[in-house]
């Protein structure tokens, strides 16, 4: 009994280590292929449209409502010691530093990361990836590099939009509905938020873009076992990418602020 438990634990540790190693290897080979010509810019543009442009709606929605609900909650707390005017700057700081990058990358993981895993997984089980090898096209270069580059570029841009609409939503709820003074609301944002807050959030977003695309591609690329396998790969990709984003967010924050 005891030995069986230990054996399971050991297998789990080995499996996790192996997965981490494989993702790292895939990352290195993606970097190696990314710097080698010829560059296929139209593939990157296509992926940028898929990852970025088509995620605008969901990111705007998430950002706006996060800003609105935070304002509502903070207002009741801050009113207890007459600090309503600080609600706007608190929401703006939270949006630019944490919520903007994290929430938009979670949404993009769910929308685009899962699609990457499913797409590559289907290609794997229908042997299209093997066909690429036959055509002397490296699938890492053809399939993975454009997705990773597009995600790294588009995540900060989506985050800018999320930050902005979050503060706009907060302004709407705070000033129009709860009646905070518009002047002090904006003045405190100007005073307490600095450019570094925005830029550090954008650096985070770029890292999250790398994480979500790399894990999505890895899970899809290594799919086994038919239609069922594709489903499993998609689920695993979303769960693993979300967890990794949340954990790495802590370390990035500790590093930056």
């Amino acid at each position: 009994m005891v030995l069986g438990g230990l054996e399971k634990l050991g297998r789990l540790v080995l499996y996790s280590l192996e997965e981490a190693g494989k993702i790292m290897m895939l990352f290195l080979s993606a970097v190696a292929w990314a710097v080698r010509p010829p560059w296929r810019f139209h593939l990157i543009i296509k992926q940028m449209e898929f990852v970025g442009v088509k995620s605008i709606f969901v990111v705007v929605l998430t950002g706006t409502f996060t800003g609105m609900v935070m304002t509502l909650q903070l207002f009741h707390g801050f009113r207890l010691f007459s600090a309503e005017s600080l609600v706007g700057s608190t929401v703006a700081l939270a949006m630019t530093r944490e919520l903007g990058p994290v929430l938009s990358s979670l949404m993009v993981t769910a929308r685009a990361g899962s699609a990457m895993a499913a797409e590559l997984g289907t290609m794997r089980v229908t042997e299209q990836i093997d066909a690429l090898y036959v055509m002397a096209t490296n699938p890492v270069k053809y399939l993975i590099v454009p997705r990773v580059i597009a995600s790294i570029i588009m995540m900060p841009i989506l985050t800018v939009v999320a930050d902005f609409v979050g503060v706009v939503g907060s302004y709407f709820v705070g000033v129009s509905i709860l009646g905070i003074n518009a002047g002090t609301f904006m003045k405190n944002i100007n005073k307490l938020v600095v450019l570094d807050d925005i830029f550090n959030g954008l650096i985070k977003a770029a890292v999250f873009g790398l994480i979500l695309s790399l894990i999505g591609c890895y899970k899809g690329f290594n799919t086994r076992g038919g239609a069922e396998g594709v489903g499993r790969a998609t689920t695993e990709a979303v769960v693993l990418a979300s967890i990794t984003i949340l954990v790495s967010d802590y370390f990035l924050t500790a590093l930056m602020f």
Binding site: P37, W39, F41, H42, I45, K46, M48, E49, G52, V53, I56, I157, L158, V160, V161, D163, F164, M186, I189, N190, K191, L192, V193, V194, L195, D196, D197, I198, F199
Partner: protein, 468 residues
Amino acid sequence: MFSLSSEAKVGLFVLVALIILGYMSFQVGQHGFSFKRGYLVETVFDNATGLDKDASVQIAGVEVGRVESISLKNGKALVVLRIKPDIQLEKDVSAAIRTHGILGDKYVEITPGTIKTAFIPDGGAIEQVNRPADIDRMLSQFALITEDIRAVTSSLRNVLGGEAGESSIREILTNMRELTRSINTVVARNDDKIADVVENLKSASKEMEGTFIALNQVAQGLKKGEGTLGQLLRDKETGEKLSKTISSLQDVTEKISTGKGTFGKLVNDEETAKNLSDSLAGINRYVNKAEQYRTYLSYHGEYLFDTSNAKSYLDVRIQPNPDKFYLLGVVTDPRGRRTLRDYTTGGVTTRVEEYDKSGFLFNAQIGKRFKDIAIRGGIMESTGGVGLEYFAFNDKLRLSFDAFDFSSDRRAHLKGMAEFQIFKYIYLSGGWDDFISNQGNSSPFAGISIRFEDDDLKYLMTTTPIPK
């Protein structure tokens, strides 16, 4: 239905996001990656508890700068302030650390000085420092004061408290009563002597009367012209001489004030005064212009990967003031200068495209800068065009987007580029040239630039007459 291509959608989205980013970076506080402007002033405080880097520096509640750094010097806090360039501090200003409200942030308050002619230069120091009236100090002083009071009251209690104190107070009161009684008897006993004193005073005042009469006589003698002083006052000749002097003085001042004579003209002629002030203003403007003028020379070379070509740019950038610039330059393009020519042979017109390989292309643009964003327009590579630039990281990173060569038979030439400063004069750049080309000219590129400021060129430019 009209539909945009993927490229256009991505481009539009990126553009919108960049505009939002630009707007946000205007709105938020400008420290961190902001421009370091203004001059530095040092102060030394005994104690800078609670004062942070980037804390506000204020005069009369108006922010005039920020705290640049705080360090230890000879056991005291050396605080370096960065003051806005348009604020001048008099030599005798004083600085103090104060607190917003009771629990608020610490800031440095500067009290203006009185000497309006001497100002603190860059790197100078504020000599007078007021001790801060912060809560800690106030509380510790309160504690000292209450301790003193308690010492006094406790010794009072030792003296007055208890039965011994009570009896001694009673004794004092009986002594007082006896004293007043004896004063009373002294006054009653000496009644006659007091009357004598009053009599003496009366006779003294009578003698004073005689003295006044004698003084009166002296004054009358002066009036009649007796004695030296009297003669001076009564003599007619002296009086006339004095009045002549005064009238000739009056004459001179009148002449000056009506503008007669050289001096009068100089003082009174409005034109002279205006000329003088005009020429002073002219000199001032000239000197200012020359100081403001900045001229940059730059060489930029880039290699286009897909077309295996190299392009070189030699530019002169003239900046009369920080938010305006002119750009003049030549470009060599191995593709050459493109010209269209119509040939008519036998009623049939054929249009031929020709490339002049040896032809230079020219840049002549005007530009305006709004904080982090600059717009340019004019002639780009010998065709009309416009450009947009975004600066970040203290101007080290420049993102630019150019659109030019809008001809009807081909797509416009669009060029996106990012440039980063790696050393003082050396910049590395990369981007994508002509990326919507339908001529097969689309290509990514990498390049290197050398850019430096040239003072000689600047003075050459400003010796030519400048417009008003």
